[in-house]
């Protein structure tokens, strides 16, 4: 993929420095990308990856440094400038209008004049979509699309604006492995047509699979720029973290063998989703103290709804949830917390209010304990408590920091600290490592194992099968709202490949006849 040295890079950022108050998010960063190349940006949470790309997209102004597009120095004062220069960006939080169609959304981004020719536009969009292998129906409403499809629309939008440099900030964090593979196909098509792609991900295998070069940031500085062909996962991880990273040791303590009373019991749970369609159809699950049960499954098979039931945000239409034998089926978030369920939400921004301080977000879930007689808030206690958790969980923040300004990893740590410091009897962790760097993932995994050792019953809801297999004592597979099978990884010590294959089959809906306790999917 090396270009003749005569062509200037599609984008060359030079000496970029960006400060937020006392914090330097980017320090003298050099970064360039050639057309026809995928250049990956790697780094721990808070290393400054998003900041660097936001500068390129004109959202932030650098305090120092220059940007050259196709060899020409070009100041980018706003996203409009960047778009005009052929730069497109797709972030994790999509900026689509859900009640409009795909075509209408694309037109919104560049509507000019008074008339609107939807018919022609749809045809053009369909043509662009096929050319780049992005299958989407321009006439469909965005709210009907899956996350993967919405992402394709975002990419299509950038292409429709004639972008030549595409920035993807953690695009795979919201995708299933299959969808991620589809995205890579699209990206390969794009670079074949001469686009330049900047790709941010925490998943090293993805970076190795798709990129040509990797730039690693640590604390805002470039600590290495390597050719992908000449590096390994271990090298990259070491560069990122600045130390050796080991995987989590699986199952240090064996799971309890003697049958105990289950701590968390789900019996025949039925739930409808927001569109009033059945989302869970008879979930049965029991988790004992000191046990991690991993819930594997392809996205969209009822995992978010199950998380919501156990968070007290969605009431089952049928069935029972019990914690230590006590019925909490109808409990609200307060009731669930009081019953001893610690809840780590799938979407971080649903677990904290971005506009409140770290201390306030930590106190809010158990506010009664921070309230003095007469309804007065014990602010000193709130601050002290936050500070002690910040120290214990090594969060890069102060109690007074606005939570929304933290990096993804530190925001996740705030939630973990709030939940785990209360020593809950049940931990419901939904996608707890989504968007986290390797160091932070290891940290979260260690925390979950510590909780297990303490005797908590843990439900790990994750679309990352490797994560589930690394941590779970038992794996339950969810398919179309029901548990279609359970497996004990320990039964497959000698044959891990078979284990993955079996689980994969169940995830695809092929109910196999092994495992201890197969729940038949209801045909209703």
């Amino acid at each position: 993929m090396t270009q003749p040295t005569t062509t200037p890079p599609a984008v060359a950022m030079h000496g970029i420095t960006k400060r937020f108050g006392p914090l330097t998010a980017n320090a003298n960063v050099d970064f360039d990308v050639q057309s026809g190349e995928v250049h990956a940006l790697l780094g721990e949470n808070g290393a400054g990856k998003t900041t660097l790309t936001k500068i390129l997209y004109g959202l932030y102004q650098p305090d120092a440094g220059t940007i050259a597009i196709n060899g020409k120095l070009t100041p980018l004062r706003s996203p409009a400038d960047a778009i005009a220069q052929g730069i497109g960006m797709v972030t994790q939080h999509f900026s689509l209008v859900p009640t409009l169609t795909v075509a209408e959304n694309l037109l919104l981004s560049q509507a000019q004049g008074i008339t609107l020719d939807l018919r022609t536009a749809e045809a053009t969009i369909r043509e662009t979509a096929t050319r780049y292998g992005l299958q989407v129906d321009p006439a469909r409403l965005v709210q009907r699309l899956s996350v993967g499809e919405q992402q394709r629309v975002e990419i299509l939008k950038a292409l429709y604006q004639n972008c030549r440099v595409l920035i993807l900030d953690e695009p795979t964090a919201v995708l299933t492995p299959q969808e991620a593979e589809g995205l890579f196909m699209v990206l390969r098509g794009l670079i074949a047509q001469g686009l330049a792609v900047i790709f941010i991900s925490h998943k090293l295998n993805e970076v190795l699979a798709i990129s040509h070069r990797v730039t690693v940031l640590r604390a805002g500085k470039v600590v290495g720029e390597v050719k992908t062909a000449e590096t390994t996962q271990i090298d990259l991880a070491r560069l990122m973290v600045g130390r050796e990273v080991t995987g989590v040791q699986v199952s240090a303590t064996p799971p309890p063998t003697a049958p105990q009373r289950p701590v968390l019991e789900l019996q025949n749970i039925h739930v409808r989703n927001t569109q009033h369609l059945p989302a869970l159809r008879g979930i049965n699950l029991r988790i004992q103290a000191g046990e991690i049960v991993g819930l594997a499954g392809v996205a969209g098979n009822g995992q978010p709804e199950l998380g919501e039931v156990l968070s007290g945000l969605r009431t089952p239409t049928q069935g029972e949830v019990r914690v230590n034998g006590i019925d909490v089926t109808k409990a609200d978030p307060v009731g669930m917390t009081r019953a001893g369920i610690g809840r780590i939400p799938e979407d971080r921004l649903k677990g904290v209010v971005a506009d409140l301080t770290v201390a306030e977000n930590i106190a809010l879930e158990s506010l009664a304990e921070f309230t003095k007689a007469g309804g007065q808030l014990d602010q000193k206690l709130v601050r002290q408590h936050a500070q002690s958790l910040i120290d214990a969980f090594e969060i890069k923040a102060t109690p007074g920091t606005r939570t929304g300004s933290l990096s993804g990893g530190n925001m996740q740590k705030v939630i973990l600290a709030r939940v785990l410091s209360r020593n809950p009897q049940v931990v419901v962790a939904a996608q707890p490592t989504r968007g986290l760097d390797v160091g932070a993932i290891q940290y979260v995994h260690e925390q979950l194992l510590t909780q297990r050792a303490r005797g908590a019953a843990i439900l790990l809801i994750s679309e990352d099968l490797d994560e589930v297999l690394a941590l779970a004592d038992r794996v339950a597979v969810i398919y179309e709202g029901a548990i279609v099978g359970e497996v004990k990884p320990s039964d497959f010590r000698d044959d891990p490949a078979n284990l993955k294959q079996q689980i994969g089959l169940m995830m695809a809906g092929a109910v196999s006849g092994f495992g201890e306790q197969i729940e038949r999917r209801e045909s209703a």
Binding site: P333, K350, D355, E360, L364
Partner: protein, 349 residues
């Protein structure tokens, strides 16, 4: 030199700068109108902003004007703080006023220390009751409160009008005004020889209450959470609807006190023109004051100054007296526009 704009975090000083900047820009914008009305600019602004502060009597008159605005400003700011857009302070004010006009006549033979608290309590209750349907619709059926609270204003104003032109019409003069309050029902004057009454102190108490709730109480943190992130607040166990419901009723009650204070402290009877839009000016005061109690207090007094000043200016210079309303409206628009400064930073390059 060029200016460029980028997203940023709000910093504290900008919240102080915005209202000052808003006032400055408003004065420049309104200058055109003053000029059109044929009066001298400096002279007009002198009457608007300096003259009312030049004597003790007129300063006190400004505070009298500011009293209902302190109430409605507090009421609106309280609701806005938790993301409940109560536009109904005007109607709630009249609900409180009507209750005060009735209680102040029917309660007889009791000492003021008993009657006055009863009147205040009754007015607050009546206004809270008036604020109840929108709150209920919002929390049960998610009906937009902006629409319902706004529409109920007209309903209450027409209801008061029908009372005054019907059963409550003064039998002697035949004026559309309610019977005069018993002497024991009237709020005592704070300073002899002036119109400043107990209502002013009660309004300050309402603002202190607002400050304590938002800055010191757990409920204030809940309000903040609901106002800034409903979904996440719910996840963290805040009873969002309960908070919204309470806030809506408290906001209504405080707006009702504005009406009671005008009836029992100033006019001693209910009239149709009791409020020249104090409920709406409360929105200006709350916004200009950045929803902060001290800010709201200063803003309410500033608006009191404008309305006193516009009357003097109109008497002395013949400029239209509604210039004061124009200043307020422009002030609101400019402030709202400047609030963008809180999310965007303008930098020189």
């Amino acid at each position: 030199m060029q200016l460029r704009v980028e997203r940023r975090e709000a910093s504290a000083w900008i919240s102080i700068l915005i209202p000052l900047l808003a006032i400055g820009i408003t004065l420049i914008l309104v200058a055109g109108l003053v000029w059109l009305s044929g009066a001298g600019l400096w002279e007009t602004y002198y009457y608007f902003f300096i003259k009312p502060l030049s004597s003790r009597a007129s300063v006190i008159e400004v505070l009298v004007k500011a009293t209902p605005l302190l109430f409605t400003g507090a009421a609106v700011a309280f609701a806005f703080y938790s993301g409940y857009w109560n536009i109904g302070a005007e109607g709630q004010l009249y609900a409180g006023a009507a209750a005060a006009a009735w209680l102040g006549v029917v309660l007889k033979g009791l000492p003021p220390v008993v009657i006055i608290p009863l009147i205040m309590l009754g007015s607050a209750l009546a206004a809270a009751l008036w604020a109840l349907p929108p709150a209920w619709l919002k929390t049960r059926l998610n009906v937009d409160e902006v629409v319902t609270t706004l529409l109920l204003n007209s309903v209450m104003i027409f209801f008061v009008s029908s009372l005054l032109n019907g059963p409550w019409r003064d039998p002697v003069t035949n004026w559309p005004q309610s019977p005069t309050l018993e002497a024991a029902s009237r709020l005592p004057r704070l300073l002899a020889g002036t119109r400043l009454h107990l209502g002013f102190l009660l309004a300050i108490v309402a603002l202190i209450f607002f400050w304590w709730i938002t800055a010191r109480a757990s409920f204030g943190l809940r309000m903040r959470a609901v106002g800034r992130g409903r979904e996440a607040a719910r996840f963290m166990g805040v009873h969002v609807n309960q908070v919204v419901f309470r806030v809506a009723l408290i906001s209504g009650a405080v707006a009702g006190l504005a009406g009671a204070s005008e009836v029992a402290g100033l006019h001693y009877h209910l009239i149709e023109a009791l409020s020249p839009g104090y409920g709406y000016s409360g929105i200006v005061a709350a916004t200009l004051g950045s929803l902060h109690p001290i800010g709201v207090a200063l803003a309410a007094i500033f608006i009191g100054l404008i309305s006193t000043g516009s009357q003097t200016a109109s008497r002395a210079l013949g400029v239209p007296s509604f210039l004061g309303d124009v200043v307020q409206a422009v002030l609101l628009l400019v402030t709202l526009a400047l609030l963008l400064l809180r999310t965007y930073r303008v930098r020189m390059i």
